[in-house]
Assembly symmetry: C2
DNA sequence: ATGGAACCTTAAGCTGACTTAAGGTCAACA
DNA sequence: TGTTGACCTTAAGTCAGCTTAAGGTTCCAT
């Protein structure tokens, strides 16, 4: 853990494609943490590049930051996560994708029934049964319909 | 088009499961429109139940209200949409689902490669290539990463 | 040692999709 | 005819996920 392992926020931004302000926001949210120099500037670990990459990938899969935080909490505390650690946590992402695909497939099936009957009516069709939860991660802060 | 075809906002709310305030919001956004009674109360067409159902279904599929508005614009103006009209527009929803499923499947494939190599690094993995667009309709107003 | 880029903090703003509050009006039934 | 529940409007609030602004400090190459 020499000084070379520590990177400034701008470097982290460049390496991940995130904006500096977004990184500060993530730190504030607790998704990453930083040491400080004597002059109060943040210094991140190189492994935080990977950590942020994970956040970004998980986001594309539709996970909210809070959920991602929960996933990240599974990583070992104290030591830099190993490749095995990342493999483990990535597998849990894969499960998330699978369930999303399943949900979409189910919805599609139901929609097809409805195209068949032409009703598109909540009462008659199954399209709206609440057991589906929040659906395909709808836009904005709605989460559960109803 | 007798008086019986017109329903009050509370009825529409009950029939669709939406809240009254959400319906007002949709009207303001232009997703539905209403006539007014002499006393300034909204009166909707019965067919607006279906219209709202469509909005709700499309939302679960991750479409934003603006996109849904665009879809609805394809409906015939002036006359109450027929079942055929709804079938047509529903098919375009099905296409949206299909592309979402494809995107997820692709992402999953890439993730699997990354689990294999353990890198989870934006530079090395394909996971982050921008040609994927907005991913699985991520949370919040981000839309396109970058 | 100095100048400018990169960093810092705090506060406010933004978008989408609504909800809640406050204060007032309408309608329909008993 | 009264009253009560359903309706009206406007304004502000909420949440997630950030960005932008303003004003100040640090780092580091020259």
């Amino acid at each position: 853990m020499t000084k070379d392992d520590l990177i400034a926020i701008g470097t982290l931004a460049r390496r991940t494609g995130l904006s500096v302000s977004a990184i500060r926001y993530y730190e504030q949210r607790g998704l990453i943490s930083a040491q400080r120099t004597e002059g109060n500037q943040r210094r991140f670990l190189r492994s935080d590049i990977r950590r942020i990459s994970f956040v970004l990938v998980a986001q594309r899969l539709g996970l909210a930051l809070a959920e991602i935080e929960a996933e990240l909490a599974k990583l070992p505390q104290g030591r830099t996560p190993s490749i095995l650690d990342w493999q483990k946590i990535s597998r849990s992402l894969r499960a998330a994708i699978d369930s999303k695909i399943q949900l979409l497939t189910r919805t599609k099936g139901k929609l097809e029934e409805c195209i068949g009957c032409g009703c598109l009516s909540l009462q008659k069709c199954q399209l709206y049964n609440r057991d589906d939860g929040a659906g395909a991660a709808g836009p904005g802060p709605r989460y559960i319909l109803g």
